[in-house]
Symmetry: C2
Subunit: 526 residues, 2 copies
């Protein structure tokens, strides 16, 4: 690489300045709708950048909760102010539509999430202050005192971006500095967001090293980063292979790592529900499965339909929807080959392809694809037939009522499980048989809805048993719960009142909710 | 081994019956006060026992919260009913005194802990039900649906015993079956407790496989046990080497493991506090450091005293206390060599032995031992001089005020950190310098007290940064917080009211505390 090219490589953000990367290679963003490379060279960083980012973030306190809230609010404003440009850029890099998705849905969700995180920083609702007056003990969740490393996924350039998404907001709202690793699928969007974030850092007086950004790393440097004992925690959303490799490195150093690795998200259609509205259910499933070209970790990839009077109409409507649909634009060049390989695994295990099945052009596209199997086929190869295909692919397994328990038994861990049942109660006995099995294997159990949407809510559970999620006790979406992943429980034993953090002082100066002698209250101590 | 000997080996508890172990070897308990082996042969189990215990506990629901509470209460009664015999047996196996310790302190603490766990099972206070009425989402902590493996330590034959201690009570109160691994230091006590526990299981109608007991395992079978994906979580209290080896095996299978590995628990004595009461502080430190022959994970092993007018009197009183003290009985045969090796490390790194230093007889004993070092010596070898010695050993580091920051900087993670300061406020400036450093490195920060006691409290934090603890967000002591280690967060998305768990139903039939739209309440939904 010549010196001339190096000067054109975008700088990384470390320690409060955009500085030249230690360039070990470069990469470019790509327009997946055309397959063409986009302008701009992004650096693959070397070890010096990784160590510099860790050193810069170590020991950094971003600011008081008030500073942090001001930052999050200002950042949300700046994102809104550049909403049109950001959405256009993200659309170019991801092939996701601006209308209905990037500009109208994902961007407002992202700014709402940042503002909710700001509110939570101010209300301290994530800190769970606990006071035992008799024992003289108090405890509270506090920042880790170490940076949080965030790896964003490919499929949400705003809402899960490592410099603007839920993990970023949660880590910062707690009061931890962030080391962000961009996803190569939307490098320009990440750069643009990080520039706004850093502007907000400066305007709100946050510590300048509150956010570092590295665009790309060779795998061994990813392991070096998450396996450094100076790191407080890691949040990773993405593929199982990548996540589990990072987990090995983090585990070895005792660094907590939170994984959200996707799954097939089984949907169980009970016969009463199908009989009541076969065509609507077919449309609902088709829409959910092909939304964003199926590239959701909560995509309904496996549907189990118990046979009944509405099934023929349902299958006909569903097949028709897939057969008449155009190809969706995929996020990355590797997506279509991955989907093709997944389909081969499914058909190789006995599933029948009834619609779609082919990659398409221009750019990176794939036909919405429907496969079917009966219970006997599914039970012959239950593992292969639960292969997650990250794309617009659905496997419909039709079962007789008396086969249901056997088909449910081999189901693996998932983020979600959905059950559709009749409004009249006619499916209740089947529901009672299926629910205990599905409840154990998923994080979020759903009635009469598709799993695709993941609301930012105090009661959200976006996670699940390993290896769909990394830890069964935590959610990666939801405020305040998602913040607690990046907090340390700290006890105070007979510490004098003036020395306590505000959340634990007798007078409760911040007015936060506290568990005092077993009772939740916002009152001061008597 | 002959057939005759095998029949004399105590059976293990698996799947609701005391059954012959797959005997791969045997071990005996020892009286550490005399060094003599005690009667009774306990099995070292083979792989079949491990796999049978996992299989028996898999899919087991011990019972409703009401059943579980009845079990915990009945078990507490049975322990009290056998209190004298249990204490006599535990004293024989551990050398710990019955009066003042086993019968009068640890046993009541254990039964109180079981009853608190019962109350918590009934109140559901560990479940944190959360309701977002607008989003239609609800979430709650629930049992893992898989067994919890509990490894007890050597130093608390009742309160941390794998079949009666805090981890056992927490795992069961949540509603998980337990696979307990006894500590070889009190095999007979564990057997006696497990027999009472199983009696309580039967009397209270709990699922018979709610508790399995294995006495001993070769290391590779310990790894097999915790690395089995059918296991829901692991709780380990003990040595760093043992805990981290188990962690590797559990991590590889995605099984959450909670470690409590001990530490040196630094105590900082500021000059005003020492000047106010030098002799009392010396006595307090000596008592705390030699209690239970120093075999507490919260033993104050490293004391940093800032020089001032009271220091000479303090050091004189402290030295006198150690020099005139008799040897304490250690828990196991390996303890004295371990302490001897630790002292060698400390003196080899420059510390001066001023009292004690020798193993003693009969049985397994060691002299209370005091070492000193100045700041310069400490800073030359800060790692070696933080060697944890599990016994009655204290290193006193005397520092000048201007050396304090440098001495605190290299301190490692600990369960606790204590700061003694003047009641007049004369130490407040020094406190302000030291507190931020000590706060980051410990789980529990203490004012004006020794760290030894660990109260069972809603606000306890018995844990700390890695590798003092295994996960910074959790405590291994305290109710309800310790229970949440063994729980899974489960979301309910538009699930119909009658299908929700009781904690989430509109009517709030159990009256538990719930976070409803950001407000904690016990009320039903309007």
């Amino acid at each position: 690489m010549t010196g001339q090219v190096e000067t054109a490589v975008f700088p990384v953000l470390i320690g409060g300045e955009w500085r030249p990367a230690q360039v070990k290679g470069t990469l470019q963003a790509t327009n997946p709708a055309t397959g063409e490379a986009l302008e701009g060279l992004y650096p693959v960083s070397g070890q010096e950048d990784v160590l510099a980012a860790i050193a810069a973030a170590s020991g950094v306190t971003p600011g008081t909760p008030e500073h942090i809230a001001a930052f999050l609010q200002r950042y949300a404003e700046l994102i809104e102010g550049s909403g049109a440009e950001l959405s256009a850029l993200a659309a170019l890099e991801t092939g996701l539509p601006e209308k209905g998705r990037l500009l109208e849905t994902e961007l407002p969700r992202t700014t709402r999430q940042l503002r909710l995180a700001a509110d939570t920083a101010l209300s301290r609702s994530w800190t769970r202050p606990t006071i035992d007056t008799e024992a003289g003990l108090r405890s509270v969740l506090q920042p880790l005192g170490k940076p949080v490393v965030v790896f964003g996924p490919n499929n949400f350039p705003f809402a899960f971006n490592a410099v603007s998404g839920g993990d970023f907001a949660a880590a910062l709202a707690v009061g931890n500095p962030v080391i962000a690793k961009a996803h190569p699928g939307h490098l320009g969007t990440t750069r643009a967001l990080a520039r706004l974030a850093f502007q907000a850092v400066q305007e709100s007086g946050l510590h300048p090293a509150s956010l570092q950004l590295l665009y790309h790393l060779p795998p061994d440097l990813g392991f070096l980063l998450v396996g450094d004992a100076r790191v407080g925690a890691v949040a990773f959303t993405g593929s199982r292979g990548g996540g589990l490799a990072l987990k090995r490195a983090a585990d070895a150093a005792g660094v907590p790592i939170y994984l959200e690795l996707g799954s097939v998200n089984p949907v169980l259609l009970l016969p009463g529900a199908v009989a009541e509205r076969p065509a609507e259910l077919a449309k609902e499933l088709f829409n959910a499965n092909t939304l964003g070209a199926g590239q959701f970790c909560t995509n309904p990839g496996l549907v189990i339909a118990v046979e009944g009077p509405g099934q023929a109409a349902f299958v006909q409507a569903l097949t028709g929807a897939y057969q008449s649909a155009g190809s969706g634009v995929l996020l990355t060049e590797g997506a279509a080959p991955h989907i093709g390989a997944g389909l081969k695994t499914l058909t190789g295990a006995g599933a029948t392809l009834v619609a779609g099945g082919q990659a398409d052009t221009p750019g990176f596209r794939f036909q919405p694809s429907l496969l079917t199997a009966d219970a006997k086929t599914f039970l012959a190869h239950p593992d292969a037939l639960q292969t997650e295909v990250f794309g617009p692919v659905c496997l419909l397994v039709t079962v007789q009522e008396d086969e249901l328990d056997r088909v449910l038994a081999p189901l693996e861990a998932s983020l979600t499980a959905s059950i559709y049942s009749s409004a009249t109660g006619s499916d209740d006995a089947l529901y009672g048989r299926a629910e205990p099995v599905l409840r154990q294997l998923c994080g979020r159990l759903i009635n009469d809805r598709m799993p695709t949407g993941v609301a930012v809510s105090s009661a959200q559970m976006h996670g699940g048993p390993y290896p769909a999620g990394g830890h069964p006790g935590f959610t990666s979406v939801g405020i305040p719960a998602a913040l607690t992943r990046f907090a340390a429980l700290r006890g105070y034993d007979h510490v004098r009142d003036g020395r306590l953090p505000a959340e634990l002082q007798d007078a409760n100066p911040t007015g936060c909710w506290r568990l005092v002698d077993g009772r939740w209250t916002q009152e001061a101590l008597a």
